[in-house]
């Protein structure tokens, strides 16, 4: 397969551009998505190609913005709505939870809501408690929504394109710390990744590290360190939370018999709990050690750098968790 190297941000932009070229009913709207190309500059150039009609700057009014997206999606358009920071999704929760997620079901299958909401997650930019949260678990809790959480440029492109083509409301979270991350991305125009398909990012035999978004890279770093210590870690990325590819996660733990689950959402009531329960049930007879869950510390994300760093799981945390599992090498 022919591949090209690009950044995570470039992959997102290319996915949007390709879908807009392919389907005239797709348009993008959000705060600063136009000439500014978003505050992260990720979409720079998109406005030059598609103009004001399809790359639309909006007022700072998240509830109205998402509400308009729902209404447009219901009536023959395929909007992409940009919510600059995942923290701001809270302002649009009625539109997402009570409207977008419910309309198909409440209408007995008449309504179709092909709406993509793109937003960001992740701490690490010294942005404090209202610009750093990872709230994807909130949305994964709501039937009727799909949630994608890509970790690499290739996944970002393939999942974004699938999100736009999906006839359901999809929330896709980009970790804002990964925009400059480089990776190889398949060149072919119709490259998409189906939802509900986990990806094994690294194969291994002794322990499974189930990780999401930027935590995939934390897990890969940990796996590298563990390998030097003679422990073979498998890194599995669910890629979409809804639908969740339980089978791949369970199969991996059946093979390795141990699991650490790493996610940047808060640990309490977070997705690591849900995944742990899925894995316990599916791999119960094979599990040799209690599953470990690593998430963001249960405190608001602090501003000061040393404090902020202390709240996010690190590769060292993962390595230590694995080393406490008592893996005996022959």
């Amino acid at each position: 397969m022919s591949m090209r190297e690009m950044t995570y941000g470039e992959a997102v932009k290319e996915a949007i551009a390709e879908e807009m070229r392919r389907d005239p009913t797709v348009f993008l709207m959000g705060e600063d998505v136009g000439k500014a190309g978003t505050v992260f500059k990720v979409l720079a150039g998109l406005h030059d190609e598609f103009g004001d009609d399809r790359v639309i700057d909006t007022p700072i009014a998240e509830a109205g913005l998402v509400g308009l997206g729902v209404g447009a999606a219901l009536t023959g358009s395929r909007p992409i709505v940009d919510i600059m920071f995942g923290d701001f999704i809270t302002l649009a929760m009625d539109q997402i939870v009570n409207q977008a997620a419910k309309l198909r079901y409440m209408s007995g299958g008449q309504a179709r809501v092909p709406l993509t909401i793109r937003s960001t997650m992740g701490a690490g930019r010294s942005s404090a408690a209202q610009h750093s949260q990872s709230l994807h678990a909130w949305l994964a809790h709501i039937p009727g929504l799909k949630v994608a959480i890509p970790a690499t440029p290739a996944d970002a492109k393939g999942l974004f394109k699938s999100a736009v083509r999906d006839d359901n409301p999809v929330v896709i979270y980009e970790d804002k710390m990964m925009y400059a991350l480089k990776g190889m991305v398949p060149s072919k125009e119709n490259y998409t990744i189906p939802f509900g398909q986990a990806d094994i990012k690294r194969e291994g035999d002794d322990v499974t590290l189930i990780a999401t978004s930027s935590m995939v890279h934390v897990a890969l770093d940990a796996a590298h360190t563990l390998a030097e210590q003679g422990i073979s870690a498998e890194v599995v990325d669910p890629r979409t939370l809804v639908p969740l590819d339980s089978e791949t996660l369970i199969d991996s733990v059946v093979k390795t018999t141990r699991a650490v689950i790493i996610d940047e959402g808060h640990k309490s009531f977070g997705i690591t709990g849900e995944i742990a329960s899925v894995v316990y049930r599916g791999a119960f007879d094979y599990i040799d050690a209690p599953i470990v869950r690593l998430g963001a510390m249960d405190v608001p994300v602090p501003f000061s750098k040393p404090l902020e760093d202390a709240t996010i799981p690190t590769a060292t945390d993962v390595v230590n968790a694995v080393r406490e599992m008592g893996i005996e090498k022959a």
């Binding site: 009913t25 509400g67 447009a72 409207q99 309309l103 198909r104 409440m106 309504a111 179709r112």
Partner: protein
């Protein structure tokens, strides 16, 4: 404004259908044939009918928790509506929505909504979509006086104004938000005035006068279709019954007030006008009533005979 006789008679018939439907719901509720609650529209018929008579089939509406009238007026099917309220599989939404969520996408009913102000975003987005797709469809957002205090109302009027969207915001001011008098929780003289800072025309009409509502809507529709943007129409109206079927509607509303509104009943009012202008005879209008009565009886009979959804349907329609 001179309105063709056939439209007046159509509006009269539509108001009768709404009133009979709602009276029937009351009977269905009190005889234990439906679960949950319903919010009756009796007294407010002229608003739904006056607005929808000025719309095309391919125009959109969003409705409210008190939505039966809007759905009947926009072309919802009485039998499918009654079945929906009774939770039957032959309902518009296969029994999954109930009274507060009746939708019929085939006639542009984007859904009644259980969230106060829930239609603001959807209707404005439907207007945006019409504009993006290059059609001249318009979207009507019905909402109550209570919803006029939700923040999103102001967000969507700003969107509609900056992009000149073909949206008509129709406020049904029935003077009570549940049990609270509107004036005690709402600033300003008129809700219609809330459009003015956005450069959107805001007008107030007598919501018991179907002709006045039709006239104001027709003007707003023409404005929207020619690309001049949104309008806010506030309709002064009144619900004869309580907030929902379990509320007698008395105690918090003076008896004289209820009687005064009933004395200017929208259906009687239009009937008198039609007869006075010699557009139809009393006998012809009586025949309309009998026809509506027959239609209602058939709808109720069919809904009662319809089965509940199979439990196997519970997981269907979560995703497309």
């Amino acid at each position: 404004m001179s309105i063709p006789a056939e439209i007046l008679i159509k509006m009269y018939r539509a108001m009768l259908r709404i009133r009979r439907f709602e009276e029937q719901i009351w009977e269905v509720y009190t005889s234990g044939l439906m679960h949950g609650l319903a919010h009756l529209y009796i007294g407010e018929e002229a608003v739904a009918v006056g607005v929808c008579a000025a719309l095309r089939d391919d125009d959109f509406i969003t409705s409210t928790h008190r939505g039966h009238g809007h759905c009947v007026a926009k072309g919802g099917d009485l039998e499918a509506m009654m079945a929906e309220v009774m939770g039957r599989v032959t309902g518009h939404c296969r029994g999954k929505g109930g009274s507060m969520h009746i939708a019929d996408m085939s006639v542009g009913i984007l859904g009644a909504n259980g969230i106060v102000g829930g239609g603001f975003g959807i209707a404005t987005g439907a207007g945006l979509s019409a504009k993006k797709r290059g059609t001249d469809q318009v979207a009507v957002c019905f909402f109550g006086d209570g919803a006029s205090n939700q923040g999103i109302f102001f967000e969507v009027m700003n969107f509609a104004a900056i992009w000149k969207l073909p949206v008509i915001y129709v406020c049904e001011n029935n003077h009570y938000g549940e049990y609270t008098p509107t004036a005690s929780v709402t600033a300003g003289e008129r809700i219609a005035d809330r459009a003015l800072p956005f450069g959107i025309p805001g007008t107030t009409v007598d919501g018991s006068d179907a002709i006045a509502v039709y006239g104001a809507t027709a003007e707003a529709v023409a404005r929207a279709r020619r690309g001049d943007g949104a309008t806010l129409i506030e309709c002064d109206t009144y619900r004869y019954r309580g907030h929902h079927v379990g509320d007698p509607g008395e105690g918090y509303r003076p008896k004289e007030e209820i009687e005064a509104w009933m004395a200017k009943d929208p259906i009687e009012r239009l009937r008198k006008k039609i007869v006075a202008d010699d557009l139809a005879s009393e006998a012809e209008l009586d025949a309309e009533m009998r026809e509506v009565e027959r239609e209602m009886e058939n709808a109720l009979k069919a809904a009662k005979a319809a089965p509940y959804p199979d439990v196997a349907e519970v997981k269907k329609h979560v995703y497309a």
